[in-house]
């Protein structure tokens, strides 16, 4: 069974190939079926892999499968290798599970789209790359998957490429990612230089012996890896692409920018825990960046009016929590949050998609309201997802987020705990601001669109329900009791049993109580302000703190700052290089050669007078010259 682990990314890859070459020639529904089948088969195999692992004794749950050699050059020996252990098993289940549901949902959501087969081809390719990323047993195969998902992100964000904003957003995502990838690559070079190999087994096994704890090499490696994670997982300062990525179709936002691709950074950091443990300073940086991002993004989410933007900033914020978890050493909890988040965030996006679909494309929440009667299933699942996101017990988000905050507190990172809790307050607030404005409040729906409002068809509704079940149950089933539930016991061996600061049960319950109170406070405030849609407070507060409000609405002007500091100078430099070098020098050289030849042609062409007497004269002169030579010179 484990030998066939390559089928997990293999099925979606096959689906991609089939759809790329034959997608247009098959009936529409067939293309969707092929893609869903590929995703479904991957899910089945992933479950099989899990079953296989569970049958092994707890300390022997680690299988490496090397398929074929890839690069053999000098000291570099890299194979197409796959690693199946509890961590990768959890990841493939999340990716294939949520991925399959989103494939099914997309059959409905993208049903009328002209480029239906292309969409599913890209979606399958994405699954294949993401699965390869998480199943890799060495950094190079992981990097291949890493780049692959970046590519698919570009392709899918810019899916409606004829729309200028969409294609710009795709480019922005790819380029910002690339900046992070530069850091990742530098780290890879350093890893190879230090360890002579890129295989996880070699590198992690020798981490303790070959790296000085806190030494320069360890710090640089960890830093480079984290920079890569920052780009891929949208943390400060490389998060700017994710809100723009909402230009892509909503299933894309759900799959790539909520559940899977953006979590690749978290997975990579968790997988590299052995390296990060050697650079405690960088780990602290990871935690700080995570906490700051969590709060930063949450503040922006509080004032956004596009339904997808709110959820996008929420994603950035929750990813911050995952990095906070890694940074305080709670890698397993971070990955747990990754899993629970995948369910409720994907559900939020798909729910948003359901609303957008029902309103014929409207995304501005100021033009929504009172949708709960017409969209009951969407409303119910969205509510559950919001509660989960806000961290209300016993839903999924509570268990995972609380573990992270408890770990921060237990590790004496009280400031980080406070930041995380502040973020939780904001999370509860903005999520319910969103919920109440869309589903309750005042009905601002455009009169014309209001006639067509209808609940989503079953093919879209069933995935919503399935995800809702996950968002409710996954937390408590696998996460209770905290740090010692089914999930933790399964996953712990993959982290070498790294010590997480143990905190007493009393403290745990106390912290959980505080967190719940904070979340309920946030919900209560949002309820008071937005439930009726007629409360004066929101606009009055916005008026009173106009400066702060404008700053938040303009997202702290980060995009503008980047434009001025980075994009414009590069653009101007490029134009200058273009004019001064490409046009003047390169084109100049080529043109000058041409002109030179033309000069000769014109000059020599003067002999071609077309005048017969001139030609006769030249005969004469020539004859005389030859004759003269023979008579006189010889």
């Amino acid at each position: 069974m484990p030998d066939l682990i390559w089928l997990v990314p293999g099925f979606p890859l096959l689906g991609f190939l089939v759809l790329v070459f034959g997608g247009r020639r098959m009936p529409r529904r067939a293309a969707g079926a092929v893609a869903c089948a590929a995703a479904g088969l991957a899910l089945v195999y992933a479950l099989g892999a899990l079953a296989f692992l569970l049958r092994q004794p707890a300390d022997a749950r680690r299988v490496t499968v090397a398929l074929a050699p890839w690069i053999r050059a000098g000291n570099l020996d890299v194979s197409w290798g796959f690693l199946l252990d509890p961590l990768s098993a959890v990841m493939i289940l999340v990716v294939t599970g949520v991925g399959f549901l989103i494939h099914v949902y997309s059959v409905g959501y993208m049903g009328d789209d002209r480029d239906y087969p292309r969409f599913f081809a890209y979606l399958n390719l994405f699954m294949a790359c993401m699965l390869m990323l998480v199943l890799a047993d060495n950094y190079l195969v992981m990097f291949l998957g890493w780049e692959g998902v970046g590519l698919c992100s570009y392709l899918l964000i810019g899916f409606w490429y004829e729309k200028q904003s969409a294609s710009d957003a795709g480019k922005k995502a790819f380029i910002v990612n690339r900046v992070g990838d530069a850091g990742f690559l530098l780290a890879l070079f350093l890893i190879f230089h230090t360890f002579g190999s890129l295989d996880f087994d070699s590198v992690f096994g020798q981490a303790v012996t070959r790296l000085d704890p806190g030494g320069l090499v360890a710090v640089l490696i960890a830093l480079g890896l984290f920079v890569g994670a920052t780009g891929k997982s949208a943390q400060l300062p490389l998060y700017v692409w994710l809100p723009d990525a909402m230009e892509g179709p909503t299933p894309v936002s759900a799959l790539i920018h909520a559940a899977t691709m953006v979590t690749a950074g978290v997975y990579m950091v968790a997988r590299s825990s052995a390296l990060f443990d050697m650079a405690p300073g960088v780990l602290l940086l990871v935690a700080v960046v995570g906490a700051l991002t969590a709060v930063f993004a949450a503040t922006i989410a509080c004032v956004q009016n596009d339904i997808k933007r709110v959820v996008a900033y929420s994603t950035i914020s929750q990813l911050g929590y995952m990095f906070l978890g890694c940074g305080v050493g709670a890698y397993a909890s971070a990955v747990f949050h990754l899993g629970t988040h995948a369910f409720f965030k994907a559900l939020l996006f798909l729910g948003a998609g359901s609303v957008i679909h029902a309103l014929g494309g409207e995304q501005d929440i100021r033009k929504m309201g009172q949708l709960r009667k017409k969209l009951p299933i969407t409303r119910a699942t969205f509510l559950l997802a919001s509660l989960a996101n806000a961290g209300i017990v016993p839903l999924a988000g509570f268990w995972s987020k609380d573990e992270i905050l408890a770990a921060a507190f237990g590790g004496h990172h009280y400031l980080l705990w406070a930041l995380g809790s502040a973020g939780a307050l904001l999370t509860a607030f903005y999520m319910f601001r969103l919920y109440y404005t869309v589903f309750e409040g005042k009905d601002h729906v455009d009169r014309h669109a209001a006639h067509h409002v209808h609940e989503s068809p079953p093919v879209m509704a069933y995935p919503l329900i399935a995800l809702a079940v996950g968002a409710c149950g996954v937390g408590i089933i696998f996460g209770f009791p905290p740090d010692h539930g089914l999930y933790h016991r399964f996953v712990a061996p993959a982290f070498g049993g790294a010590a997480v600061h143990e905190i007493g049960t009393g403290t745990t319950v106390g912290l959980a109580l505080v967190a719940t109170i904070i979340a309920l406070a946030g919900i209560a405030l949002a309820r008071a302000w937005y439930r009726t849609g007629a409360h004066p407070a929101p606009s009055r507060v916005a008026e009173r703190y106009r400066g702060l409000y404008t700053t938040l609405v303009n997202k702290y002007w980060v995009d503008e700052a980047y434009d001025a500091a980075v994009v414009e100078p590069i653009r101007r430099g490029s134009v200058r290089l273009w004019k001064a070098f490409d046009e003047a020098i390169v084109d100049g050289m080529v043109n000058r050669v041409g002109d030179w030849v033309q000069g000769w042609a014109a000059g020599l062409g003067r002999f071609q007078t077309g005048s017969v007497p001139t030609y006769v004269l030249s005969f004469l002169v020539g004859a005389v010259a030859v004759l003269g030579y023979f008579l006189l010179a010889r």
Partner: protein
């Protein structure tokens, strides 16, 4: 022999030079042709003069060759001139400058 060889050669030379001057100078293509004929006759005269004074028949044989070639050349040349005249209505050589450039 009252008139020596040099006299014939000088005459031939003068005729040749007149012919060359005609070819180079004149504008009417038919006059140019006639000048070419004149040049060829000058050469014939040279050959015959040498044949006579060297008492060898080779010169005269060569003259026959030249005469044949001249005749053929005239035929072809006049055909070309006629073709040109049909299109251009001119026999002025300075008007035949399509090869310019």
């Amino acid at each position: 022999m009252a008139v020596g060889l040099p006299a014939y050669l000088v005459l031939a030379a003068i005729l040749f030079v007149i012919g060359v001057a005609g070819v180079v100078t004149r504008r009417n293509i038919l006059i140019i042709f006639m000048s070419v004929e004149l040049m060829m006759n000058a050469v014939n005269l040279t050959f015959v003069a040498f044949s006579s004074f060297l008492r060898a028949l080779d010169g005269q044989v060569f003259v026959f060759f030249i005469l044949v070639v001249a005749a053929a050349e005239v035929v072809v040349g006049l055909a070309i001139i006629y073709a040109i005249f049909r299109h251009r209505e001119t026999v002025d050589v300075t008007d035949m400058n399509l090869m310019k450039g």
